[in-house]
Amino acid sequence: MAIEVRLPTDENFIRSLKVGDEVLITGTLVTARDMAHKFMVEKRPEFLKDILRGTAIYHCGPVVRKEQSGEYRIIAAGPTTSSREEPYQASVIEQYKIVGVIGKGGMGEKTSEALKKFGAVYFHAVGGAGSLLAKCVKKVKDVLMLEEFGSPEAFWVLEVENFPAVVTMDAHGGSLHRQVLKESEARLKEILESFGTR
């Protein structure tokens, strides 16, 4: 059974999550991808601090439609590859006190250390599931830096409900990515060695 995660949340709850846990996230997320991460680390904007504290950043560049009423509607919103944010992520976790990073592909050792040190986890969303994940978005609460960054790179503040994900890096240094890499590497080695003996 999936575990319910309500955002914003606190460090105690986050530390109870373990690698392999399947979760359903409800609450506030903020999208941030390449330009946003560079901006957060280099410019340290104050206006994001209250929005981000205790919640999660989502590595996502959504397809957004502006309705005639002026409201925004999220049409497709799956995760983008997280590793591009590796140089910035640890610093963002520390400075903005976020408790979660949502994306795909997992992240490196520097981020893993920061998750452990500051009490945060990495949630892996299903890559490519843009339509399904967009349906989990109940409301666009706000958008920041839209003019400056363009739609895919802006900070979209989203209210989501039952957004499915898997904890693949936890606050105890665990990483499913490290484990699968190790296991598949052993299998690859075995297959490569079988060639000579054919």
Binding site: G150, V180, L192
Partner: protein, 289 residues
Amino acid sequence: MQNFVEIGLELIKRCSTDLPPDVEKRLREWRDREEASSTARNVLDVILKNIEIARQEGTPICQDTGLVTFYLTLPRGMNAEGIKGDLVEAVKKATALGLLRPNAVDPVTGKNSGDNTGGGLPYFSVEYHDGDEIVIELMQKGGGCENCGAQYRLPDQRLKAGRDLDGVEKCVLDAVFQAQGFGCAPGVVGVCIGGDRAHSYLHAKKQLLRSLDDKNEDPVLAELEERLYEKLNRLKIGPMGFGGNTTVLGVKVGKLHRHPASFFVSISYCCWADRKRKAIVKGSDVQIY
């Protein structure tokens, strides 16, 4: 003359929102081969549900609607410029309708053109044939999996890969291993053996247009495809790289004659959202596949 703006728009709509049946069929088959209530099976269920929602609601399968690439096959003597102009219009319209995300960024200024055109986009490949049909194939391949493409030069010392089919297999195994976590597995793998660097990559990508159900006309390559399909799935990287039985949905291999000094093996990796559609136009008749 047909209105190719309309045809292009319909093709893009189908491509963005309706996953081809051969890909969906493989996803369903592999879903059943994953253990009940495993994360691997649950992920494939989310993917299948997403495919249904996108089709029903006419929304993009994935928010990364890819780089729009058209492969035209025209009757001999026909000029391609008119059709190309119409298809560029179709791309602009599709972007305005939210069927395509603006994905064309100037690499120097960082400015997004906003309509998926400019700086060489959309891409076109034009070939001619003896028939009188106009064939327009469309591929919308995402950026995450495009980043997983790889090119090897045989012999490769690290992989102990020589200039033979065993060497080719080793390259493909390594490329899929390296792609884990990045290309949205289970993927489809296009391979080209030979060619120069540029044509080899193009030909590898073109293999992705083939149906997953087809059989390579070259019996040696057909066997190679089968062998690789089996071995790659033995890696157990699993959907999204979470571990599991499903690593790739198919392998398609082509070849090009090579220069005696060069032996390239190029791999184009496509995520599970292998978006490809085809229109065949004959007189007033238009069929979209």
